[in-house]
């Protein structure tokens, strides 16, 4: 094993990984979806007759074909019609009020509300046959006017649901701020920011394989972050007890938040598998993913930030018009995360954030790595730079002056968060020192005096985020079992998609028990093997599952000591645990190993539920950029990311995630975005040639550093890692470009900072000229 750094590596590097598309199930059918090419319209006709005649096609159905059916006789379910897409109450992502009257059909019925919405499904002997059939489905949709930005959709001149407002949710955090506060402030800055829609783009698109078993159970394989949620939601849809469904997550090719729901295609595939009594799979291809997979971000923001003459923050107001897509079922409440985190790392006494979640003719907005925190950080940190410029202060000094001091935790924010721990100035100081802040400022001055030099800018971004989950979802289930052969099985409810759990968690368990690492094996991502669990989202696995495993280890040690005490007829206090063995405190000679104890006393397994508090990781990112005003290009000369995720379980793994996350942050700042035509159709016909993911050519020198402030929310002290770059990096880069160009109107620099955006900003009036 020593030639493989991670346990996952052997199979993933030799072609023996098993992703859903790699699984071989005899007789498995492939599903292909027929999708709307218009963003908004009335469905006049979906005729699948010709598709059914195509050789190799098993069946083809529109929504109408799967409505009003006689009760299905398949043993697995009391199914009748194709059920609609479920909504989630998890983490307050959606609620009953928002979805009432707004059904999300798994196949669109009389109306389509986003380009890419499925209107029919064709099942064939393989994907080629299924697509042959899909090409024969006749679809006629009369287009309606479409709206793709929340600002335009909010006035309801084009309603997605007749008789209902497009505004599906409103909320706020903090108290309204009196006008006198703004009037009395020495400096007030205002701005509007657009947090563009992004595509999470894991390299493996979505997958599901549903297999009706002979015993009447249903097995489902899916690249998924929350197998237990998927099981629960599918059971409800199919009217089955949860124990009749097994969900297994095999190797998963990335997720970044986007693989944790029961999507319309999942509902359809599982329904068809049960109805047909045959295995059916859907392996999403990239092109359909680009129209029909969930998006992230999507906010139009208005901010006001006030300070006194010394730069002490007085008040911050954030108004969010959130683009939640065509249906409120998965993410209508997600923008509240931005509102709750609006305070950031500062002692601002008055903070008020309001949210208006507006339906638009786009695919649904859902968590994407960062999930609400990047939007909070980018708005605040861009505004901090505007304020520093207004006050004539160094942006680092302005931040330092307002940080919540390291000694003031737990800290209750005006927007309802209770931060567990923090040391913000240490993180900033490390970032400044690492990047050589003073040297770059000198270089910037030199360039400003040289008309031939390309302008250079330095951008900072200090963030605080939240990890572990929201109240009601901060727990996890974990267990450890000792076997007669000396091996240990650890189980937990997590489901990784590239985060190295198989390596990291056994190491943690081995350390907690004091046994060799290679004796410990991890089981996760299978609802039969681990009956209860929440999953991997909200940067929670190390923090919550890690702590839950440590907790289970402590319980196992207690049980083992009790058993040994019984064996030896002595009080448990007199039995000592040491490195996987037990011995009486007074007479070391009678020591017994854990394996032996199991042999003598029977199976030893503990399972428990563990409750974590919220964690609030933080950090400081700094970027230096050079801008070519003629070409509109941005060259990142240096990026430093300092993150604090508390206790680090595996430094190389955390570092790898921080680096990759920072690159996704660069993607948001400079490259990624979804252009929409006036008709509301995303202009992504050329797939990944149109949606610009960073390639290796775009990667600047990035230095990853950390500070380590353990969270008191769990005994382990680990906080979330991995989302840091998406949260901290974009504002650092945008601030650096603003610092280089000094445009008077900050609204000119809206992400992604494409050459067109930068070229225009470079020609606009400068800040000093405007004054």
């Amino acid at each position: 094993m020593e030639q493989w750094t991670r346990r996952e590596d052997r199979r993933l590097l030799t072609g023996h990984g098993r992703y859903v598309a790699d699984l071989v199930v005899p007789g498995c059918l492939d599903a292909a979806f027929v999708r709307s090419t218009v963003a908004h319209g009335i469905v006049r006709e979906v005729d699948c007759a010709a598709a059914r005649e195509v050789p190799g096609v098993i069946g083809a159905w529109s929504a109408a074909d799967l409505s009003g059916l006689p009760t299905c006789t398949h043993a697995a379910a009391r199914l009748q019609d194709l059920p609609p897409v479920p909504h989630t109450l998890l983490a307050r992502l959606s609620n009953e009020e928002a979805v009432t009257g707004r059904e999300w059909p798994a196949l669109a019925k009389e109306r389509v509300r986003y380009a890419g919405e499925a209107v029919a499904v064709v099942v064939g002997e393989d994907r080629y046959r299924a697509e042959d059939g899909a090409a024969e489905v006749v679809v006629r949709i009369d287009p309606l006017p479409a709206v793709v930005t929340p600002s335009r959709a909010a006035n309801d001149s084009i309603a997605l649901f007749d008789g209902l407002s497009n505004t599906a949710f409103t909320g706020e955090a903090g108290q309204p701020i009196d006008e006198s506060v703004w009037q009395g402030a020495a400096a007030v800055v205002e701005a509007r920011y657009r947090q563009q829609l992004l595509m999470p783009t894991p390299m493996e698109c979505r997958t599901i394989l549903a297999v009706p078993e002979e015993d009447g159970r249903l097995s489902v394989w899916s690249g998924h972050q929350m197998p237990h949620r998927l099981r629960r939601e599918l059971a409800a849809l199919l009217d089955l007890p949860v124990d009749r469904i097994r969900v297994v997550v095999p190797d998963t090719g990335g997720a970044f938040g986007s693989k944790s729901a029961a999507f319309p295609e999942f509902v359809t595939v599982v329904y068809l598998a049960v109805t047909l009594g045959r295995p059916v799979r859907w392996i999403e291809d990239r092109l359909e993913s680009m129209t029909a997979a969930t998006r992230g971000r999507g906010q139009d923001q208005r901010v006001r930030l006030a300070a006194d003459a010394d730069g002490h923050l007085l008040a911050y107001e954030l108004q969010i018009d959130a683009d939640v897509g065509a249906y409120p079922h998965l993410g209508v409440g997600l923008p509240m995360q931005t509102a709750w985190m609006a305070t950031g790392p500062y002692t601002t006494p008055k903070v008020h954030a309001t949210v208006r979640s507006v339906l638009t003719n786009t695919m649904v907005t859902y968590p994407y790595r960062g999930a609400g925190r990047p939007e909070a950080t980018i708005a605040l940190e861009r505004s901090m730079d505007l304020l520093a410029r207004r006050l004539g202060m160094d942006p680092a000094e302005l931040r330092r002056r307002n940080f919540i001091p390291a000694g003031s935790f737990p800290y209750q924010t005006p927007t309802g968060r209770c931060y567990d721990s923090g040391d913000y100035s240490t993180a900033l100081d490390l970032a400044l020192e690492t990047i050589g802040y003073g040297t770059w400022r000198d270089e910037q001055e030199r360039r400003r005096e040289n008309p031939d030099a390309l302008p250079l800018g330095i951008g900072l971004s200090c963030y605080v985020e939240r990890s572990g989950g929201e109240p009601g979802g901060l727990h996890e289930f974990a267990g450890v079992e000792a076997h007669e052969d000396g091996t240990i099985t650890a189980r937990c409810g997590a489901a990784p998609s590239g985060q190295s759990h198989e390596t990291t968690f056994p190491a943690l368990v081995a350390q907690a028990l004091g046994v060799e690492e290679d004796r410990v094996r991890l089981v996760e991502g299978d609802t039969d093997a681990q009956p209860e669990g929440l999953g991997s989202f909200a940067s929670r696995s190390a923090q919550v599952d890690g702590a839950a495993l440590c907790h289970a280890c402590a319980l196992l040690i207690d049980r083992a000591r009790e058993r040994a005490a019984e064996l030896w007829g002595m009080p448990v206090e007199e039995v000592e645990w040491s490195a996987g063995s037990l011995r009486p405190l007074r007479d070391g000679s009678a020591a017994i190993g854990l394996a032996e104890l199991v042999k003598d006393t029977g199976p030893l397994r503990v399972d428990d539920r563990f409750e974590s508090g919220m964690g609030f990781p933080f950090g400081a990112h700094a970027a230096v950029v050079e801008v070519d005003p003629e070409l509109g290009t941005v060259r990142v000369l240096q990026l430093v990311v300092v993150d604090d995720c508390g206790v680090v379980l595996n430094p190389a793994v955390v570092r790898g995630q921080a680096f990759g996350s920072a690159v996704q942050g660069i993607g948001q700042a400079l490259y990624e975005g979804i252009p929409y035509g006036d008709d509301g159709v995303p202009q992504l016909a050329n797939g990944l040639l149109d949606y610009l993911l960073p390639t290796a050519a775009e990667i600047p020198p990035i230095e990853v550093k950390d500070t380590r402030t353990p969270t008191p929310s769990t005994p382990l002290g680990a906080k979330g890692a991995g989302e840091s770059g998406c949260i901290g990096t974009p504002a650092a880069i945008v601030n650096a470009v603003a610092d280089a160009l000094q445009p008077a109107d900050p609204g000119l620099l809206q992400m992604p900072l494409t050459p067109d955006v930068v070229w225009r900003a470079a020609r606009a009036p400068k800040y000093e000229e405007a004054r």
Binding site: Q3, W4, T5, R6, E8, D9, L12, L13, T14, G15, H16, G17, R18, Y19, A21, D22, V24, D126, Y128, T201, P202, M203, E204, D251, T252, G253, G254, F256, D285, R286, L287, S497, G498, Q499, S500, A652, V653, R655, G656, Q657, F659, G660, A662, V663, Q664, N686, G687, L688, L689, L693, P694, T695, A696, A697, I699, I702
Partner: protein, 161 residues
């Protein structure tokens, strides 16, 4: 259409529809699922394999175009006795993979280049070019670049007398 493919040294006599892409035939007919499809239009490079030693996107090539030719996939990287390829060891050592989905493509791009010219370790721009040819969403590429450098340096030093 009947074709003969040599895949990782093994002869396969196959009857395939002319429209089937090489990646699907490798995955489904030859049961070699290490070759992954990430975009199916030649951009991401996850499906990269070697055809007669040259790196190709297996999603842009029809299987029938490979009739009589020799294909190498990630399953054929290790030596027959199971000893990992220097690239496989280097990718692991440098944490050059997280979810592993794009990894076979990067391995094959690098393997093709390294085998064609063992001196690429001396030319960091050429290695940059290799890494720039594929997409990874997890690692941020730097570990992949380091891994290829490491494997190339190792191969070069082995090749020296």
């Amino acid at each position: 259409m009947k074709i003969k493919l040599t895949v990782n040294g093994e002869q396969h006599s196959l009857d395939v529809e002319p429209r089937r892409i090489l990646a699907d035939v490798l995955r489904e007919d030859c049961r070699l699922t290490g070759t992954h499809l990430g975009c199916e239009h030649g951009v991401c490079g996850a499906c990269t394999v070697l055809v007669d030693g040259e790196a190709v996107r297996a999603c842009l090539m029809l299987a029938v175009q490979c009739d009589g030719r020799s294909v190498r996939t990630v399953e054929g990287l290790s030596s027959p006795d199971g000893e990992p390829h220097p690239l496989q060891r280097a990718f692991s050592a440098e944490h050059a993979l997280q979810c592993g989905f794009c990894t076979p493509g990067f391995l094959m791009v690098a393997a093709g280049a390294l085998e064609a010219d063992p001196t690429i370790a001396d030319d960091s721009e050429r290695i940059d070019g290799l890494v720039e040819s594929n997409i990874c969403r997890c690692t941020g590429y730097e570990p992949i670049r380091r891994a290829i450098m490491r494997a190339a340096a190792e191969s070069a030093s082995r090749g020296k007398p």
